[in-house]
């Protein structure tokens, strides 16, 4: 299979989706209010319930957003966890690009990153 990945663009392709499937399913479950409560009460146990391995579990517990992407997280699913933490897409954009949230917001307000 040819790579659809024009570097450094992140594409949610087949192998990525398989790598992250259990973690993405767990994030999907957080659309239910009761699930959000159960997750927050014991995050590690909640990860275990969805069959996450140690790498995925640690990435979630440590809120290592880049690792979650590298381990197959879809940004739309990972974002559910960020929202629970009260974090914005601008915050995540800053994490992925090595900027503070304020600098990332400023870059967007200045017309976005047109040179990448």
């Amino acid at each position: 299979m040819t790579s659809p990945q024009p570097s450094p663009t992140y594409v949610f392709d087949g192998p990525t989706s398989l790598r992250g499937h259990r973690m993405n399913k767990m994030f999907m479950s957080l659309t239910k209010a009761q699930a959000r409560e159960e997750f927050l009460a014991d995050e590690r146990a909640y990860c275990a319930r969805f069959g996450l391995g140690p790498e995925h579990t640690e990435a979630v517990l440590r809120r290592d957003w880049q690792a979650m992407l590298d381990l197959g997280g879809s940004i739309f699913y990972v974002y559910k966890l960020a929202m629970m933490d009260g974090l914005s897409m601008q915050y995540l954009g800053g994490v992925f690009t090595g900027m503070t949230e304020a600098d990332f917001k400023a870059a967007m307000l200045a017309g976005g990153r047109t040179d990448v």
């Binding site: 659809p4 663009t9 993405n24 999907m28 940004i75 739309f76 897409m89 870059a107 976005g112 990448v116």
Partner: protein
């Protein structure tokens, strides 16, 4: 036959809905975007169709990654507004139009588009934000019944732009063969250039967006000829959502009249675009 009277293409970023829900019309970050919507809203307010078809994608709310329909259509009597993880938006649930849905389904399948059928579907911001762009104050109900037409744009491989355009053309034929005389509005949603993840997060390509805004009116075949890799490279890995505008455009006449368009950076991490087209031939004086 039913008649497509207009097509509205618009971004669907969740924060546009959130800004509206919080009454931030005059906030300096948002006021320009909303000012750009105003002429379209005024024109549309006088032209409520009998039914609307809304082409959109779900974002981990109505479907998950167990099953990824490339194209799907809702056939339900109503669609609930999804809880996306922070409680549902305080906007009305969506009334459907099963009779037209089933007609479209059969016609599309007969035309070679093997649609996934949704008898139940919660709709997320990809659906409700475009409705809010059209109708900012819906009160207890949206202006008319709306049929969801879902496209996978978040899981590779997305359908090609050419296939989306062809689906739109088949949708146009399906609407034309509906036995009742009704008017229809079509919404194509998503875009414009943006990328959320990876080191290219925050990517915006105003040149590509300008080209797209012009070509969606005058030369959609040119946009249909672009590969998905072209879209990912030029519009970003989430900007590929623009292929959904081609479904709308395909369902319209070869010649359309632009009523209004607007472009603004940023809406959240994206370039927000709007384009409204009249599908009726101009009345000659």
């Amino acid at each position: 036959m039913s008649e497509v009277i207009w097509g509205l293409a618009t971004s669907h970023v969740p924060s546009i809905g959130a800004a509206m829900d919080r009454g931030m019309h005059d906030d300096p970050v948002w006021s320009k975007l909303f000012a750009g919507y105003q002429p379209a809203r005024e024109w549309l307010a006088d032209r409520t169709p009998d039914v609307a078809v809304l082409v959109y994608n779900d974002h981990a709310n109505g479907v998950d990654l167990d099953i990824v329909p490339t194209f799907g259509i809702g056939v339900a009597e109503s669609y609930a507004v999804a809880d996306e993880g922070y409680g549902r938006r305080a906007v009305p649930d969506v009334v459907g139009h099963p009779e037209l849905s089933f007609h479209l389904l059969q016609s599309l399948v007969d035309d070679g588009f093997d649609m996934t059928v949704f008898r139940e579907l919660d709709v997320d911001h990809g659906f409700t934000v475009p409705l809010s762009v059209w109708t900012p104050d819906p009160g207890d109900a949206w202006p008319c019944p709306v049929i969801p037409l879902m496209v996978n744009v978040i899981s590779y491989p997305q359908p090609t732009a050419a296939r989306c355009y062809a689906l739109g053309q088949a949708l146009g034929r399906a609407l034309a063969s509906y036995p009742e005389d009704i008017t229809v509005g079509i919404l194509g949603t998503g875009g414009m250039s943006h990328q959320l993840a990876g080191t290219r997060a925050g990517f915006i390509n105003p040149e590509f967006d300008a080209m797209f805004l012009d070509a969606i009116e005058h030369d959609p075949a040119k946009l249909a000829a672009l590969t998905r890799e072209d879209y990912i490279r030029e519009a970003g890995s989430e900007g590929i959502e623009l292929i959904m505008w081609l479904v709308m455009r395909g369902a319209m006449n070869a010649q359309v009249t632009k009523v209004h368009s607007a472009y603004h950076v940023p809406a959240s991490n994206t370039a927000a675009g709007l384009a409204l087209f009249d599908n009726r031939a101009p009345v000659r004086a």
